[in-house]
């Protein structure tokens, strides 16, 4: 049988097309995302995989490969685990979080079992909590961000014991009598607070005469 050049070209192109189609179909199937279920004990922990965040239990689609899962929850030490997502395999993951003991000694002993990454993650969460507390404090105590305020006759330094401590200072060398000085200082303090768009009557001011 004699095959001419034209037929040979057609056969070659057909074979190549079939091979490429098969490679495409199989590779697509191999690299297709796999659905995995991540559970934590207790639930409702914050999960972080790459840059994305989830709340447990979470069902997510991941392409085959290795991933690092960070699980954090208030009251628990952070957990960081690595998973290898493989096609057609049970990829369900259960993460058990270690509760933070109330006693310092027990807490320290668990702390020492954590990896450096878990420690860092736990401490990051604690610092975030502190930042949140700071933020809330400033929202509920708006005068604090303007402190300390000090002049010759007034000192408003800090907020403590649920009060703003306003010290009115008497100047002995001044010809103005003590009561008038205190009165003027008080008016100055109120005026300054108002200048910060705050109503002094809504603030718990503790007047200290010095």
């Amino acid at each position: 049988m004699k095959i001419n050049k034209k037929s040979l070209l057609i056969i070659t192109i057909t074979v190549i097309s079939i091979v490429l189609s098969l490679v495409f179909i199989f590779s697509k199937d191999l690299l297709a995302p796999t659905r995995i279920l991540i559970k934590t004990l207790p639930q409702e922990a914050t999960l972080k995989i790459g840059e994305k965040g989830y709340t447990s239990p979470a069902t997510i689609n991941l392409k085959p490969g290795k991933y690092k899962i960070e699980a954090v929850k208030d009251g628990y030490f952070a957990s960081i685990s690595e998973i290898d997502v493989i096609k057609n395999k049970d990829n369900n993951i259960n993460i058990s979080l270690k509760e933070i003991p109330s006693s310092y000694k027990e807490r320290l002993s668990v702390w020492n079992t954590l990896t450096d990454e878990e420690k860092l993650s736990t401490r990051t969460l604690a610092d975030q909590r502190a930042e949140k507390e700071k933020e809330d404090f400033l929202k509920t105590h708006p005068l604090v961000q303007h402190l300390p305020y000090k002049t010759l006759n007034i000192e408003i330094v800090n907020y403590s014991e649920d009060k703003y401590w306003v010290t009115l200072i008497y100047n002995q060398s001044s010809p103005i009598d003590k009561n008038s000085q205190y009165k003027n200082a008080k008016e100055d303090a109120i005026s300054w607070i108002k200048s910060k768009n705050l109503d002094p009557s809504t603030l718990n001011l503790e007047w200290v005469y010095k």
């Binding site: 401490r123 604090v144 800090n158």
Partner: protein, 282 residues
């Protein structure tokens, strides 16, 4: 030595002398001294160009700055008198050497050069001291220059914390291998740089163990009362210790803290939620 001609030339010295009440030879220039001054004036341009050639521009500028500083100080009295004393003594010494050289038959040009060199020696010493004092006091005014040697006092600890809060990037650059937002490591580094030079880095993430075991520190309850706090107290949250937040109280209701992943060292109002403190007792 040539570059010093400009910064120490006798013309500049005159700016120092008018207000000087006492002096061991500088209050009135001798005739020889005046001659020397004239000669020095003539050689000024030569010296200046020579100084420039030999990299004397910087020294010249430094000399001018010191001369300006010296003039201001002289107006206030004290240092001016010392300057005049040194200047007068220098000129006297120079004129004496010049005389001796003349007798020895040394040429006029060499006499001037020799006289100037002799006149410069005490002045260079004086200016070195003045520059040293100037740099010392200017550093002292800033209070927290990193070039300062670590102090053993608690105030050094507080000032260093404040300094890093004012220059957070400097802190980050100084410790490139750590996370500069790490609160505990920040406190550990400031401690180590100042009052606890032997602090082991293993304590950085367990500050309370260090504070509890160290004889230099006492643990106390803050009870959310900033009126009870003292500058230099290290504050932390007992229920989170050793992994929780830690900050340095600097007074006036303020703390310096870094926050992991949130911010570099900065001054913040104290929010009253860190219930434990460590107080330096030395």
């Amino acid at each position: 030595m040539q570059e010093d001609f400009e910064q120490n030339n006798p013309e500049d010295l005159e700016d120092f002398t008018p207000d000087q009440p006492t002096d061991s030879g500088g209050s009135s220039l001798s005739d020889k001294g005046r001659n020397l001054k004239d000669k020095a004036k003539k050689t000024k341009d030569k010296a200046k160009s020579a100084g420039k050639k030999t990299g004397g521009k910087t020294a010249e500028k430094t000399g001018e700055k010191v001369a300006e500083k010296g003039a201001e100080t002289a107006a206030s009295g004290a240092v001016g008198a010392a300057t005049g004393g040194v200047g007068g003594a220098a000129v006297k010494a120079a004129s004496a050497v010049s005389d001796a050289a003349e007798k020895a038959g040394i040429s006029k040009g060499k006499q001037i050069l020799l006289g100037c060199i002799i006149a410069l020696i005490p002045l260079v010493i004086f200016l070195t001291m003045a520059i040293g004092m100037y740099s010392y006091f200017s550093e002292g005014a800033e209070g927290t220059g990193t070039s300062q040697s670590p102090s053993s006092s608690l105030s050094a600890f507080i000032e260093r914390a404040k300094y890093y809060a004012a220059h957070p990037q400097e802190y980050a650059d100084k410790y490139p291998d750590i996370d500069p937002t790490d609160c505990a490591v920040f406190v550990g580094n400031v401690l180590k740089e100042t009052i606890e030079p032997n602090l082991s880095s293993e304590y950085y993430q367990d500050m309370s163990t260090f504070l509890t075991n160290s004889p230099n520190w006492e643990i106390f309850n803050t009870e959310s009362n900033t009126n009870n706090l003292q500058p230099g107290d290290i504050l932390y949250k007992s229920v989170e210790d050793p992994y929780g937040h830690v900050a340095i109280y600097i007074g006036d209701g303020q703390v310096v803290d870094a926050s992991l992943g949130n911010h570099l060292p900065q001054i913040s109002p104290y929010w009253g939620r860190l219930d434990k403190g460590g107080r330096y007792n030395k």
